[in-house]
Assembly symmetry: C2
Homo-oligomer: 363 residues x 2
């Protein structure tokens, strides 16, 4: 599979009239090699792929593993004695135009490449990851299913006195004990904390009183693929206003789904921006503030990928895309509700990958 | 404290003949604001600091939290309706030369800044973090102390049949149950896996046989500050060769410590490269391969900071610096030993912050 992906990239390189590409994005490296051990925070490896060569550049910490797991790439082991510049010099005549990831490469790295390769051009490998194969969809679905089990499990842990951090930790333990990782640090927000869409899970405790929001936004990472889901439940009976907020968010998500289904039937292009607006306008029409974030995002090896479902998005939704639909209403000093599910477009249908109940849950 | 840091930065800006700086590095944002909730994987915030202005640029997901926790910075809430370009335009006349973090800023971000600010210059805020305050040192020490407890705890969990992943998970649970985070994904390597310096913790299990290496490289993050420590113990009696490797690594670490102490006494500059070479040459002199990584690295808000203790380093070690000394010997198909401790230079003395035993441990 990975050899095939490299072949596809090579075709894309010729099409783009490039002689080679320089890949630094860790998820792109994983996408092309299957190797997922490089740090996301530091630059530990690069790929250099041209028509008739394919290198992985890393240091001695990784060379044994790379030789074993990616034998079809040629290893260039960089070190003080053997700097990457040596490789550049040896390929200088073969590379007139080099493709680079302008959205990932740092200015410092760019300047150092520029010393060897005069002409560079932006190259976007992330669009290759936009359309998922059935195998990739299966992996995301598997992660979603474990997320559903985690949600079911965590509902039983919600009780007076538990803190956001403790609840997040219970969630994490469940996911890890089932052999998976978190796809991002879980967001657990109690009461009015839920009015901050990206609340930092803290020491707030659930109190013995009515109508506390419990917002849970979490994801599972399984075999390198991510899930992402948000549910908001109530600890103690919600007020009429809280119920209205909940129902409005839920209907807004349905509006987006309806818009996609209707457009699918019509055979027209499904503009991501229009999906966003279908949900957003509904929320505004009910007298609530606009959603302070995009309606949704693609997902795969990373939690946030293309397409973007936002008012300014220029993308259209196509078969094989996997994305979230996650409207929310946030009222300062009161709280907020977000409901997020993952969907896949396939066989002219929209299918939910997350399966947890969206009925209003009171604990 | 954070206000004072921003004042220091302003002085540095004038000294460097800049009109303002554009900060994107998340750890630098935490350093200057104390706010640590922005993602490390996505660009969720920037700082723009000039002589008479100081902005934090983020989106509506964070604005409530930012207003509360960093009131001394002016919030620019970016959105589709209010793009950052508006801020740039309003400050265009005040900013002739803009400082940027070339080692962090992407080419795409750079190009977009260049549209508004013709002249940019590299600005390194990371050097501000090089010398730690007594308060910062205390935080790192606290993280190290919890790391020591974790090591003591984990020794009791090492048994026949346990896998690397299971052991890493026990370590993680202990650290999290003590209110801290991991500073990086723990490296647990059994047997010959330990010959890969950055082995990906996997499903290898401890067997009932003699002399299996158990390499544990892990760190604690407490109040945003990191610890980092490596110990290698033996499951079952080690062979003579394994013992020799262990003793050589331990002595190599001592050689580096001795070199620093000797140079401190002489009053000369302590070149980081020479510290590296003191340990490295000792290992080579005993007939083992050279260390396939640097001898050590600074640490603080990030696990890897300046200074770098490597053969090519141009830095010298100064009072207030905190860094690791971590020699290792790695023999393919046999295994490896690494011993890593954190040290601080203060009051003309080198002091270890990690306190776990380095006697050869057999389980």
């Amino acid at each position: 599979m990975f050899k095939q992906r490299i072949q596809q990239v090579k075709q894309k390189i010729s099409k783009a009239k490039l002689d080679a590409i320089w890949i630094c994005d860790v998820s792109n490296i994983t996408y092309l090699t299957g190797f997922s051990n490089f740090s996301k925070e530091e630059r530990e490896a690069y790929l250099l792929i041209g028509k008739d060569f394919q290198f992985i550049i890393t240091d001695a910490r990784y060379s044994e593993a790379v030789r074993k797991e990616i034998p079809h790439l040629k290893l260039f082991e960089r070190s003080h004695q053997n700097p990457t510049e040596k490789l550049f010099e040896s390929l200088k005549n073969k590379i007139k135009v080099l493709g680079i990831e302008e959205d990932e490469l740092t200015v410092l790295e760019y300047k150092s490449l520029k010393k060897h390769f005069k002409k560079t051009k932006h190259f976007n490998l992330k669009t290759n990851r936009l359309i998922k194969t059935p195998e990739e969809i299966k992996k995301i679905e598997k992660a979603c299913k474990l997320g559903d089990l985690a949600f079911k499990y965590i509902l039983k842990k919600i009780r007076t006195g538990i803190s956001e951090k403790e609840l997040a930790y219970e969630l994490e333990k469940f996911i890890k004990e089932n052999g998976a990782e978190l796809s991002f640090p879980s967001i657990v927000a109690f009461g009015k904390n839920s009015s901050v869409p990206h609340h930092q899970t803290g020491n707030t405790k659930l109190e013995e009183k009515h109508g506390q929001f419990v917002l849970l936004d979490f994801g599972v990472k399984l075999e390198n693929y991510c899930s992402d889901m948000t549910r908001t439940v109530f600890f103690g009976k919600p007020s009429k206003e809280q119920q209205k907020i909940y129902e409005t968010v839920l209907s807004a998500q349905q509006k987006a789904v309806d818009y996609i289904n209707k457009t699918l039937k019509s055979g027209k292009k499904i503009w991501a921006s229009k999906v966003d607006i279908a949900a957003r306008d509904y929320i505004i029409s009910k007298g609530f503030p606009t959603i302070p974030h995009s309606l949704g995002h693609g997902i795969g090896l990373e939690v946030h990928e293309h397409p973007s479902l936002s008012p300014k998005s220029k993308e259209d939704l196509k078969s094989g895309m996997v994305f979230s639909i996650e409207p929310g209403i946030y009222i300062p000093n009161l709280g907020g509700v977000r409901i997020e599910d993952l969907f896949v477009l396939e066989n002219q249908q929209l299918r939910a990958l997350t399966g947890s109940s969206k009925a209003l849950i009171i604990i």
